[in-house]
């Protein structure tokens, strides 16, 4: 049952039926992406590892009662994202450590020029500076490639909120990364927030 060809839903079913390998296989399939999400949102490898361990254990225990109303991956990712968000909320004032450029053991592709690596470091550092409420949707949508709808589901917020938080975060990043370096002062002055708020889609409710 734990063969590579099994679907995620098959693995959950097998897990509920007592297959001791099924859940581990499910985790193996998704762990790299979830690790990236955890590390990029929490910015601390130890915390990311703790959050993932907690999340996977929690999912392991809850999996027997999983109902196929949502996709397994969405369900599992949501548990992971929630574990990360819980930790983000709890630690508020704790300093964070810079992310390593790559995970330990990750081979550095020969084509990686020094300039590319530097750019990545700068982008990662800029991302780290974002407020957490903006960093989480940016990581999910713009880095990890989740759709706005998926991200809204994962974060438990409206799609409009995802879009507006992404917009705020991208605007800040564009400035920090120097893409807006030559903009006139006026372009950097926010317009009346009330006007902008009113103009957003009424999805935020």
């Amino acid at each position: 049952m734990t063969a590579a060809a099994s679907s995620d839903a098959d693995l959950i079913t097998a897990h509920a039926a007592g297959d001791p390998h099924a859940f581990s296989e499910l985790v193996r399939r998704h762990r790299d992406r979830m690790w990236a999400v955890a590390l990029r949102t929490l910015r601390d490898p130890e915390e990311a590892a703790d959050a993932l361990q907690e999340a996977f254990i929690s999912a392991f225990r809850a999996a027997a009662s999983f109902r196929a109303e949502s996709q397994v991956t969405t369900w599992l990712h949501r548990i992971v994202v929630n574990a990360c968000l819980d930790r983000m909320r709890r630690r508020q004032t704790r300093p964070t450590v810079p992310l390593p450029e790559a995970g330990p053991g990750e081979p550095v592709a020969p084509r990686d020029a020094m300039a590319e690596r530097e750019t990545r470091l700068v982008v990662q550092a800029a991302l780290d500076e974002l407020p957490e409420e903006q960093r989480a949707p940016i990581v999910l949508v713009d880095v990890e490639g989740y759709s706005v709808a998926e991200t809204a589901q994962l974060l438990g917020i409206a799609e409009g909120t995802v879009k507006s938080r992404c917009a705020r975060g991208r605007a800040k990043l564009a400035k920090v990364l120097g893409h807006l370096r030559n903009q006139g002062a006026d372009a950097n002055v926010p317009v009346n927030d009330v006007q902008v708020q009113q103009g957003r889609q009424l999805e935020e409710r």
Partner: protein, 252 residues
């Protein structure tokens, strides 16, 4: 705010343009603003800057989970997959340890546990009702809480008998050698029981039946296999097999 975009005119704020770029504006405002923005070079520059920012984010490399984290999580899940009560006869295991039968008994117990793990494949929540196995002992199945700990033990994970389950998660998160101080001293203790160990996946002071001890979780060679050891920090050493109080292997 329909009409605000038109009335406000250029230069538009970066935030407003970022909302437009992200599709965060209502359709009517967007329809009004879009043609105006497209005719404004400065606004187009802002949109191009946002596109460049998105490209930078898309180009961040994947971050594979480090091996030690993957092993740690695999070990935690393997422990979770164990039945909630020891499969070996609990009283007999305790008596064995009390008699300090040493390494031979430890190996036997570990083998028994390993066989049990292979035989029992149901998750923790589904263990009841398997007639061929020892029934879960509710007393040993209670999650560790501060109130369950003996006075003066702080928040050390507590283990009763061979029910390591409640402590494993905490130990896996720790690299705290406690009174053993470092990996070398742990290795010395384990050598007393002929156990060769590298860096543990997790190590932490615990209490074993209310007495201070140190638990370590080690890779056991085969993929998905882990060894849980508990040592007495006061007596363990390379010449004392009895310093290893528990030695159990988890196999997938």
């Amino acid at each position: 705010m329909t009409g605000n975009a038109r009335r406000s005119g250029p230069p538009w704020s970066v935030d407003l343009l970022a909302d437009l770029h992200a599709g965060a504006l209502d359709p009517r405002t967007e329809a009004e603003l879009r043609p105006l923005v497209e005719n404004d070079p400065e606004a187009r520059e802002v949109l191009a800057a946002l596109d460049a920012t998105l490209e930078d984010l898309h180009n961040l490399p994947p971050i594979p989970m480090p091996r030690h984290v993957a092993e740690r999580i695999d070990a935690a899940l393997a422990e979770e997959a164990r039945p909630s009560a020891p499969v070996i006869d609990f009283a007999r295991a305790k008596a064995r340890r009390a008699k300090r039968l040493g390494w031979g008994a430890g190996l036997l117990a570990a083998a028994a546990v390993a066989v049990g793990i292979v035989a029992v494949t149901v998750p923790r929540d589904n263990t009841a009702g398997d007639g061929g196995l020892a029934q879960p002992d509710k007393a040993t199945n209670t999650p560790v809480t501060a109130s369950a700990l003996p006075p003066g033990s702080g928040k050390l994970p507590a283990v009763r008998g061979q029910d390591f389950g409640p402590a494993v998660g905490d130990v896996l998160k720790a690299q705290n050698y406690g009174p053993l101080e470092n990996q070398d001293k742990l290795a010395d203790c384990l050598r007393g029981a002929n156990i060769t160990a590298g860096k543990p996946l997790g190590v932490s002071p615990i209490t074993l039946d209310d007495k201070p001890a140190v638990m370590a979780i080690l890779p056991a060679g085969a993929p998905g296999a882990y060894r849980i050891v508990v040592v007495d920090p006061k007596t363990c050493g390379p010449d004392n097999p009895d310093g290893v109080l528990a030695n159990s292997t988890i196999e997938p």
